[in-house]
Each structure stands twice: as structure tokens, then as C-alpha cells.
């Protein structure tokens, strides 16, 4: 599959959580159309509770769509996880009973990758994520940000063609966040994978992405897709550029309104 082709397409994707035990059903997402281009870095921003994590679930095949269709590399995804997708969840998903090293190697070992290859990839990921000194530590001995890095590493070693990240840097401080952003950009270039990054940090989206999808309050739809026009070999220093301020300003002008809606201060009838 060549660069520039459609890698993932979403058509009319909708998800309604059925009401359990007398509760109202929750219309969390859509209808929503989107096309992710092979090799692009796409970022999603939106107010809290607008359906970003839900979007990730249906994209990964962890939940099925209520309506609409998703295709990944031309094949429909319907509530089954396809090959070639890696996910970093919003919550800490490191396994507390495994060491850092065994956590990272877990997916490879389960999929019977040969031991030498596991070693090589895990070592690479360990140094990339700055976890070299914590190989034998258990997650309980790490900070929240370090645990999230373990999860990122566990995903990267599988060399997915599509990487979905849900606020992976949420528990990091601003400086580390920027540096991890640089690492992510480097990885993205190196692996030529398609990246979808969900974030609540507008500057992060503006700095990392080729395109940024701005979502409305629940049920989440794309209000606008902002093109950043950054060069491929960008890094965190672009935050000093004037365009950077213009992009974040544009994102915020949308999100201010939507975030107020999400907080219930200007809730339209459902």
C-alpha cells in the first residue's frame, strides 16, 4: 500500500451505548465520516466526554458500530480486532504482575516471535522510552508517566501499521510531554505508520499532527479538520513559529464553545 492512499475510512460511523437497567441509551458518537491517509499523523481534539475514546474503541474493533462502516486497509472492521493495529489506552493498562521487560515483550511472546527478535525489539523500545534502568521493575514501582511509556513500548514492539493513542501523555509534565512528542514524531517517521492521536492538549495536537480533527460536544462529530502544513521532519521547536499560535488559536475558538456545551452551560436539546 503506497503513501497517500486511504488507510482507514469511516462512513457514517455512529455508536449508541444501549441503556442498561432502565437507563437512557447514550448517543456517544457520530454520525461521522473520516479518511485517514496512509502514513499521516492525525490528531483528534474535543471536549471531555465527546466520544473520543469511543471512536478509538470502534476503530480498534473493540466495540462495534451502531451504524455506519469502518474499513482498515480495505477490509471492514466489525467488532473484531484486525491485524496491524496497535493501541495505547487512556487508562494505565500495564500488567502489574509483570516486570517492565516482560510487559513490553508480552505481545511478541504471545504471538510466538522468535526469542532473539524479541530481545532486539524490546531493547530498542526500552532505550527509546527511557526505561533502560527499570527493566526488572514492576509497574507499581514506576510513576504514572513511566507506566504509560511501558504501554507505548508494548505497542510499538509489535510494529503496527496503524497506531491509535488515547491521551498517552496525559500523566506527563509539560516538558516531558514535548520531548515524548518528539520521540513520537521520530517513531512515526521511522516506521511510516499511520498515527491517530487523541489528546486534550491543543498545543500537542498542533505540534504533532498533519491534520487535526476538532470534535463537537457529545455526540462527537468533526466540526472542522485543520491542516497544519508542517514539514515531515518537524520537531517540538515549531512551537516557536507564528503559525503554531494561529493553529492553536483556531482550535480553541471551536473548542471553547464545545467545551462550554460539554460542561452543560449551553446544552442544546439532544
Amino acid at each position: 500500500m503506497a503513501k497517500g492512499e486511504a488507510h482507514v475510512t469511516l462512513q457514517g460511523v455512529t455508536r449508541v451505548y444501549p441503556g442498561v437497567a432502565g437507563q437512557q441509551p447514550v448517543h456517544a458518537l457520530g454520525p461521522l465520516d473520516l479518511e485517514l491517509v496512509k502514513g499521516e499523523f492525525f490528531s483528534v481534539v474535543g471536549p471531555s466526554g465527546c466520544g473520543k475514546s469511543t471512536l478509538l474503541d470502534v476503530l480498534a474493533g473493540l466495540a462495534s458500530v451502531t451504524d455506519g462502516a469502518i474499513r482498515f486497509e480495505g477490509v471492514p472492521i466489525h467488532g473484531r480486532v484486525p491485524d496491524g493495529i496497535g493501541v495505547v489506552f487512556q487508562e494505565d493498562a500495564s500488567f502489574p504482575w509483570l516486570t517492565v521487560e516482560d510487559n513490553i515483550a508480552f505481545g511478541l511472546r504471545q504471538n510466538s516471535v522468535e526469542a532473539g527478535e524479541v530481545r532486539r525489539r524490546v531493547d530498542h523500545a526500552l532505550s527509546l522510552m527511557g526505561l533502560k534502568d527499570f527493566i526488572r521493575a514492576y509497574p507499581a514501582q514506576l510513576s504514572g508517566g513511566m507506566r504509560q511509556r511501558v504501554c507505548i513500548a508494548r505497542t510499538l514492539v509489535l510494529e503496527p501499521r496503524l497506531i491509535l493513542l488515547d491521551e498517552p501523555f496525559g500523566s506527563l509534565d509539560q516538558q516531558t510531554r514535548l520531548l515524548m512528542g518528539d520521540e513520537l514524531l521520530r517513531l512515526w517517521r521511522e516506521t511510516e505508520s499511520t498515527v491517530l492521536l487523541i489528546t486534550h492538549a491543543l498545543d500537542e495536537a498542533a505540534m504533532l499532527a498533519d491534520r487535526i480533527g476538532v470534535m463537537s460536544a457529545r455526540p462527537g462529530r468533526f466540526l472542522e479538520i485543520v491542516e497544519t502544513g508542517w514539514p515531515q521532519d518537524r520537531d517540538s521547536r515549531i512551537v516557536a513559529r507564528p503559525e503554531f499560535g494561529r493553529i492553536t488559536g483556531r482550535l480553541w475558538s471551536h473548542l471553547r464553545v464545545e467545551s462550554l456545551k460539554a460542561l452543560g452551560q449551553d446544552r442544546p436539546p439532544l
Binding site: V81, A93, P96, W97, G107, A140
Partner: protein, 245 residues
């Protein structure tokens, strides 16, 4: 580890000193002195008649434990996995846990008569409830993100059970097993005391009837040493398992 062993040694010495003190304070007849008791234990162990009783108790206990563990884990996990029945069953289990099981004993005797089955059942009744409660909570409180991760990493159902479900729930399940172990032992011995012609519980009852303080103390000491040893080992494992979570 060294300070740990020293603490334990100090604790044992303190207990022995208190014991000796109590013995001297209360005068003879009520208690036997530590040294005499240990001597009596050794003599008991040297009596050929004693071993069938020990064997009887041990086999009753092991059977009761097997039933408690098997039934407790099965019921607990099933209730944990099925939300609604778990919510219905929880108050019932807790009620069962808190009533004195002795009140059930007449019913057990009525069903099983005096002998091995009655004490096995009585032991199992004591142990099964905490094992079920802990297993239920372990499964119910399982973080769903682990299952999502298993799906993403393309684990099949069997690998998910073995590599994710089991280790994720083990610490809590193990605590249940530890508590269940102690209670099953208590239950089995109680069963032996009131509804049996053999076993350590029966010996204990017989000694009480004959007012043989030395025998009572010796059997109790044996049981205490056994229970404390196993429980300490289980506690250490339990602690290790929980430290990571």
C-alpha cells in the same frame, strides 16, 4: 530477612515467657508449663495410638479443604463473571459468612451421621464462603482494560484466561484461600469434637472429659504450631502477590 527472623525469635521467646509466667501465677492444674507441654507432645508423638487419630484429622482436613477450594472458586468466579447473580448472591454469602456455623451442625449430623463425612462437610462449610466471596470480588473487580489489552494483543480465550485473568485475580483469590484454609481447619476440628469417635478433635474432647490438662495443652500446641506455620507461609506469599498490585 535477618531482622525478620530475629523478630520472630523474640516473639516466640516472649510468648513462652508469658506462658511460663501464667503457669506460675495460676498454680498447677489449670495450665501445664511450656517445657512439660513440649515433653508431652513428644510423648504423644511416640505413642502408636496417636498416629491413626492424626491421620484421621489430616485426611478429613484435606478433603474438606479440597471441597472448599473447588466449590468456592467455582461458585465465586461464576458469580463474579455474572453481574446480576453476583449482586443477588453477595448479601446471602455475607450472611452465611457471619452466622455461627455451629448452628448448622445438627442439620449436618442429621444428613451425614457421625463420622468422616460429617466433619469433612462441616470443615468445608466453614472454608467455602470466604473463598467464594474473595473469588467473586476478584473477578468482579477485574480492570476491564486488561481484557481490552488482551484483545488488542490478539490473545485467544485460553491465553487470556491463563496469562491475563489468572494473574490479575490471583492476589485476591489467594487471600480468600488463606482465610479459607484457617476456617476449614477450625471447622474440621469442631466437627471432630462433637460428631466423631476419631481424630484430634475427638482426642481433645476425650481429654477434656477426663480432665487431662497435659493432653489438652499438648494437642492444642501441636495444632497451633501447624496452623501458624502454614498461615505464615501463606501470608508471605500473599504479601508478595499484593506488593505488585
Amino acid at each position: 530477612m535477618v531482622t525478620r527472623s530475629r523478630d520472630i525469635a523474640v516473639l516466640i521467646v516472649v510468648i513462652l515467657l508469658i506462658w511460663q509466667g501464667l503457669y506460675q501465677f495460676t498454680g498447677t492444674g489449670l495450665l501445664t508449663a511450656p517445657l512439660d507441654t513440649f515433653a508431652r507432645v513428644l510423648r504423644l508423638l511416640g505413642t502408636p495410638n496417636f498416629w491413626p487419630h492424626l491421620h484421621e484429622s489430616a485426611s478429613a482436613f484435606l478433603r474438606a479443604l479440597a471441597i472448599a477450594v473447588g466449590a468456592g472458586l467455582t461458585v465465586g468466579m461464576a458469580l463474579g463473571a455474572h453481574r446480576l447473580s453476583g449482586e443477588v448472591a453477595e448479601p446471602i454469602l455475607v450472611a452465611l459468612y457471619s452466622i455461627p456455623k455451629v448452628t448448622l451442625y445438627p442439620v449436618v449430623l442429621l444428613f451425614f451421621g457421625i463420622g468422616m463425612p460429617a466433619k469433612v462437610v462441616f470443615g468445608a462449610i466453614h472454608g467455602v464462603v470466604p473463598i467464594a466471596i474473595f473469588a467473586m470480588n476478584a473477578v468482579r473487580n477485574l480492570n476491564p482494560i486488561y481484557l481490552k489489552t488482551a484483545q488488542i494483543l490478539k490473545l485467544g480465550p485460553w491465553a487470556t484466561a491463563r496469562k491475563v485473568l489468572l494473574p490479575a485475580t490471583l492476589p485476591e483469590i489467594f487471600t480468600g484461600l488463606r482465610v479459607g484454609f484457617s476456617l476449614t481447619l477450625v471447622g474440621t476440628l469442631l466437627g471432630e469434637m462433637f460428631g466423631s469417635q476419631r481424630g484430634l478433635g475427638h482426642l481433645l474432647m476425650a481429654a477434656i472429659g477426663l480432665y487431662r490438662m497435659d493432653t489438652i495443652m499438648a494437642i492444642t500446641l501441636l495444632l497451633v504450631i501447624f496452623a501458624i506455620t502454614i498461615n505464615s507461609i501463606l501470608l508471605v506469599v500473599d504479601y508478595r502477590l499484593h506488593r505488585r498490585v
